[in-house]
């Protein structure tokens, strides 16, 4: 351990600019959202917005639909990401760069492409003379899931590939030399190396799928809404009470994502310790 001028206090001082900025901005945002949900425009503070949210028609359906879209998108993206990573593990730079393209494409653009291609009258519709199923604006949220899988499977694949360095290949070879079957190598050598990046990446994907609203706004159905489109529509409806309800709905999604992340981190630690 080499010491540096300033030592421990110096380290904390170097952490301060980034940490304090995030603390002030993010903490402020959170406090602002809580305040918006509790203090209505020109009224006394109270739980009115929360009550109105829970009792508003379509709220229960929005919770169910959000959960459905989030779980489906995350599981399918994780599965497809693993498959992509397995297929591209021994490929070169070009294949990986192609894989990186959807990661750099903004979600809104992927959703726009889905509409221009897959909606009735879109490019794919013309090429094939009609699509067998409705993908855009369908009630099951197929379009939303498709966009998220297109965007997030490559993201998860890149995270998994980052965990599969040359060191992992060496360990797999060593296991093979020691007589491990392919299944045993996968179970005891490969999987432990890719599990943590896959799990933590999946949490980010789930949080995004649960909370972002440009994708459901474009390719999702009018009903049911996701919680975030529900929040957006609330602000468009009633200017006075809408903001409070929107903030409450968004805080609900935030709470869900944080709880999920806490469980995932705990789980990642448990399996590492086992």
């Amino acid at each position: 351990m080499t010491s540096r001028p300033g030592g421990r206090r110096g380290d904390l001082a170097r952490l301060a600019p980034a940490s304090l900025t995030v603390l002030v901005l993010f903490g402020g945002a959170l406090a602002g959202a809580v305040r918006t949900s509790l203090v209505p425009l020109g009224g006394p503070p109270g739980l009115e917005a929360w009550r109105a949210l829970v009792h508003s028609p379509g709220f229960g359906e929005a919770v169910r639909f959000t959960a459905q879209v989030t779980v489906l998108s995350t599981l399918l993206a994780a599965g497809a990401g693993l498959a992509l990573a397995a297929a591209l593990r021994r490929r070169g730079v070009v294949a990986r760069s192609l894989l990186a393209l959807p990661v750099t494409v903004p979600h809104l653009l992927a959703a726009t492409l889905a509409v221009l291609w897959l909606a009735p009258g879109g490019v794919a519709d013309r090429l094939l003379g009609g699509l067998p199923v409705d993908i855009v604006r369908d009630r099951a949220g197929l379009g939303i899931v498709l966009v998220y899988v297109y965007k997030e499977a490559p993201f998860l694949a890149l995270l998994v590939l980052a965990g599969c360095g040359p060191a992992l290949a060496e360990r797999e070879e060593a296991a093979a030399v020691l007589g491990a079957t392919p299944w045993q190598r996968l179970r005891w050598v490969t999987w432990p190396a890719v599990r943590a990046p896959l799990l933590l990446g999946s949490v980010i994907v789930a949080a995004y799928a649960a909370g972002a609203f440009e994708v459901p706004l474009l390719v999702g159905p009018n009903f049911p809404a996701t919680l975030s489109t529900f929040a957006y529509e609330a602000t468009q409806g009633d200017v006075v009470t809408g903001q409070g309800q929107a903030a409450a709905a968004l805080l609900l999604v935030s709470g869900f994502s944080v709880a999920l992340a806490a469980i995932a981190v705990r789980f990642a630690r448990d399996v590492e310790g086992a």
């Binding site: 600019p17 603390l23 760069s97 393209l101 903004p106 653009l109 297109y150 957006y232």
Partner: protein, 264 residues
């Protein structure tokens, strides 16, 4: 032996098929945007537009306000990225060199903004921006984007720092280089690839923001905020704006490929 070559041929064929599929899924849709952007008349079910023209460009930049939105997006992304990298650099250095005994709380703090819906961050900040006079301003946009870009900046800069760099810097110090000279001749050349990648991705995160920008500055639309309503109403204008919106992502891809080619 013949069996082996047959198997090799099948594998090659499968690989070519997978490659073609990848190209079709990854390359074709963006290319179709360019066609749609210049398709003045494209009635279904024709596969090729009936008439090409610049109606989309004229509408987007005329009444659409694409020029102003493009400038806002570019300026906000540039300033946010610069600020984020400057603030993140010292923190990434401490975390990258693993000098912290308990990095948990800092990591948690930095991870939090990635878990909260961007629209929630925007809505919450708007509550204060209205009081501070920042609502609808470029500064308000930059600060809102910084909330989400700064954590990425720290995480992306982290791998650039480590014991190897420290040793090089010590050698520089022993050789009598001043602080500025060490930064210029030792630190920056070593960190440059990481710095470039971090800058690119941070700029992309800001460039792609939708929910935060909409909440904080609905009256000063960035490119994505301008684009969304056109998707349902005018596909040609939507495609034109999408091409503008996609350009940085393509640039990022080209730069990445070149960087990877150089390092491998």
């Amino acid at each position: 032996m013949p069996l082996a070559t047959a198997r090799g041929r099948t594998a090659g064929l499968l690989l070519a098929l997978a490659g073609a599929l990848l190209v079709a899924v990854v390359v074709l849709p963006p290319a179709s945007l360019v066609v749609q952007a210049f398709a003045d008349v494209w009635r279904a079910p024709a596969l090729v537009p009936q008439r090409f023209g610049t109606r989309g460009v004229q509408l987007a930049f005329g009444s659409g306000g694409a020029g102003a939105a493009l400038l806002t997006s570019l300026a906000v992304a540039t300033v946010t990225t610069g600020l984020a990298l400057v603030l993140a650099w010292p923190a990434a250095r401490v975390l990258g060199e693993r000098r912290l005994r308990h990095p948990g709380p800092v990591a948690l703090l930095l991870a939090m903004p990635l878990l909260i819906p961007p629209y929630a961050v925007g809505t919450g900040l708007t509550e204060w921006w209205l009081r501070l006079g920042l609502a609808g301003t470029a500064a308000g946009l930059v600060l809102a984007h910084l909330t989400l870009v700064l954590p990425y900046a720290v995480l992306l800069l982290l791998p650039g720092f480590g014991p190897g760099l420290r040793r090089l810097e010590e050698m520089g110090r022993a050789a009598g280089l001043s602080g500025v000279q060490r930064l210029r001749w030792v630190t920056l050349p070593v960190v440059r690839p990481t710095l470039a990648a971090a800058a690119l991705l941070c700029a992309l995160v800001s460039w792609s923001q939708y929910g935060t920008s909409l909440a904080v500055a609905p009256t000063r639309p960035t490119l994505p905020v301008l684009l969304l309503p056109f998707v349902g109403t005018d596909p040609q204008v939507a495609a034109t704006l999408s091409v503008l919106f996609l350009a940085p992502a393509l640039a990022a891809l080209v730069v990445t490929v070149r960087a990877l080619r150089v390092t491998t």
